[in-house]
């Protein structure tokens, strides 16, 4: 497998990371070397093996449906880039 510059540009768009034309050559080369390492997995027969997500194979707990968090909006918004009247501000998304 070899990722083309177009592949890398598509992945970067999906990841919402701007990769400039000047960077794409080096980023592609790095990613291709990394996938060269990763593809050593392909030689292994894993048919019938159950994928492992948690070492103890525990399932996620349920808890009682009750309010446990205090309202700390002001503290949390104190670290936000741009807020107004308790709202997070972002560029206009609906014309």
């Amino acid at each position: 497998m070899s990722l083309t510059h177009e592949d890398v540009a598509r992945i970067a768009r999906l990841a919402r990371i701007e990769v400039s034309g000047a960077e794409i050559e080096a980023v592609s080369a790095d990613l291709n070397r990394i996938f060269g390492l990763i593809e050593k997995m392909n030689a292994v027969d894993t048919d019938g093996i159950e994928p492992m997500a948690h070492p103890q194979d525990v399932s996620l707990r349920l808890r009682d449906d009750e309010v446990t968090a205090a309202d700390r909006r002001d503290a949390f918004q104190a670290v936000a880039p741009q807020v107004e009247a308790g709202l997070y501000l972002v560029p206009k998304v609906i014309e």
Binding site: L3, D7, V8, I11, A12, R13, L14, A15, R16, I17, E18, V19, V27, D30, L31, R33, I34, F35, G36, L37, I38, E39, K40, M41, N42, V44, T46, I49, E50, P51, M52, A53, H54, P55, Q56, V58, L60, R61, R63, R72, A75, F76, A78, V79, A80, P81, Q82, Y88, V90, P91, K92, V93
Partner: protein, 505 residues
């Protein structure tokens, strides 16, 4: 002049000008004893450490945030608690936090420009526990950005220097914590380990560190990298100190969905048990090609030392060890790409100054805020999780993960603990591997499989390479065997003095 003259130090602490080396060379346990005996106050200890940090941190870069006023206020509160008869064993003892644990009122940057302006509005679970135990925060230690790295060169705040040799890496990603303990800028520190990030820097800096069983220490408030692998743990001079800190930080927390509901345990309970009859397994794959000669001989000497203490050696096999590298470099980036999608420039952290629409704001914010290794892993993770590739990469890696975990369970049928190297070589030079991510990844071969299996493992100082850089012995235990492993390390430390060696600074 009378012996009561003003130039004589109070009680047994040496005069003020000499205390910097003396009090800062103590272990956590010994500082706790000094405090209990009234031979030192928490404010005195904090003052000594802050002075040593001020003197040595400019050359080591182990800490990224120090706030003397906050530290001294916590120390004064600890002294007041002790005066009021409300002190626990560790009340007033100083501790450093890896910059990954949210600590209310402190900048929590995770080694990233993305969080360079982030002051945590709450405490991580482990920070709550340490505060409740009366431990005094010395500050925040440097790390690879978002814990991604094996050399600490991926920090927005610059590389940490190894206190044993300023030309060497300290290891990563908890490199600042390891360097701080080795240089006696803290008696102990907390770190995190996703693929070796406690054990490898502990090995390279000549200190003791333990990664607990996955699920034993809450991840709440610990900035997430790869959630199914991340685990916090203590780093200190001795196994005994690590056991004391495990007693503080371990335990169920309902805010972490993978935290395990288990009865509290005393991690010091086995310290003092003789090792007679202990079966130690040596995995043949850990001693094959790629292991440097001087690391191999340090490990061999350590195994012989344990034999003298009564341990019996058996050979075991972990045949899928090499597959841990590709499996890890799929699973960890996949989870990272998901976890790090939260850094969008909207709710906290960096936001680009100039952008047009919302998508451009995201793309520029993330391009500016993340360093190159973090971007690489997000891109790898995005690709392996993208439409049509999930089965070929993520699912495949999770199947290999089960094979790796199965190898360990078979090995533990024949032995109580597994011993081996932590890293193929002693610390390499700064800049030596930073240009080649794949070379850097390959150096994690002995640590990654432990995280994939979710097992506990530690690094214990065991000697030095020919170039004078420290080498650690890795002790891997079965699930929940931390107390036993800590005792193996403790018995080793009672018989050897590698853990007492400190770099000349």
């Amino acid at each position: 002049m009378s012996a009561r003259g003003s130039d004589v130090a109070p009680r047994s602490l040496t005069p003020r000008s000499d205390t910097i080396m003396n009090s800062t060379n103590h272990t956590l346990t010994s500082l706790a004893s000094l405090l209990a005996a009234g031979e030192a106050s928490a404010v005195e200890l904090a003052t000594d450490y802050l002075a040593r940090i001020a003197a040595l941190n400019p050359s080591l870069n182990a800490y990224v945030s120090v706030d003397a006023a906050k530290t001294l206020a916590e120390a004064a509160a600890a002294d007041a608690a002790r005066a009021a008869g409300a002190a626990g064993f560790l009340t007033g003892v100083p501790l450093a936090y890896k910059d990954i644990f949210c600590q209310q009122g402190w900048k929590t940057s995770c080694g990233s420009k993305m969080l360079d302006n982030f002051v945590a509005p709450y405490d991580a679970h482990v920070v709550e526990k340490c505060r409740a135990a009366g431990l005094v925060s010395l500050g925040r230690t440097n790390m690879d950005e978002f814990a991604m790295g094996s050399s600490n060169e991926n920090s927005f705040y610059g590389a940490v220097k190894n206190p044993w040799d300023l030309a060497a890496i300290p290891g990563g990603s908890s490199g600042g914590s390891a360097a701080a303990v080795a240089a006696r800028l803290a008696p102990a520190a907390l770190g995190t380990d996703t693929g070796g990030s406690i054990r490898q820097p502990a090995s390279h800096c000549g200190i003791t560190g333990i990664k607990p069983t996955y699920g034993v220490v809450s991840r709440f408030g610990m900035v997430a990298y790869a959630s199914s692998l991340d685990q916090g743990g203590p780093m200190a001079q001795t196994a005994e100190d690590c056991a004391q800190l495990m007693n503080v930080i371990a335990g169920f927390d309902e805010r972490d969905s993978t935290s395990l509901e288990r009865a509290a345990e005393d991690y010091t309970r086995e310290l003092g048990q003789p090792l007679g009859g202990l079966k130690v397994g040596l995995p043949r794959e850990y001693f094959a090609d790629g292991l440097s000669g001087d690391v191999a001989s340090v490990i061999e000497n350590a195994v012989n030392e344990l034999k003298k203490l009564g341990a019996e050696v058996v050979e075991v096999s972990l045949p899928n060890t090499e597959l841990s590298i590709p499996a890890y470099y799929v699973i960890a980036p996949a989870e990272a790409s998901s976890n790090l999608s939260r850094y969008d420039g909207v709710r906290y952290g960096h936001r680009a100054a100039e952008y047009g629409d919302l998508t451009e704001m995201y793309e520029k914010t993330r391009a500016e805020g993340f360093g190159s290794e973090v971007k690489r892993r997000i891109l790898v993770g995005t690709y392996v999780l993208s439409h049509g590739y999930y089965d070929a990469y993520y699912l495949k890696a999770q199947k290999i993960r089960r094979l790796i975990a199965g190898d360990f369970q078979r090995a533990f049928g024949d032995c109580d603990v597994i011993l081996g190297p932590v890293a193929p070589t002693a610390a390499f030079n700064l800049g030596e591997k930073s240009g080649d991510p794949v070379q850097m990844y390959l150096s994690d071969v002995y640590t990654l499989s432990v995280n994939l299996a979710g097992l506990p493992a530690m690094s214990v100082p065991a000697g030095f390479a020919a170039n004078g850089r420290p080498v650690g012995l890795q002790i891997i235990g079965n699930y929940f065997s931390e107390a036993k492993m800590l005792n193996v390390a403790h018995q080793f430390q009672l018989a050897t003095d590698w853990h007492t060696r400190a770099p000349a600074l």
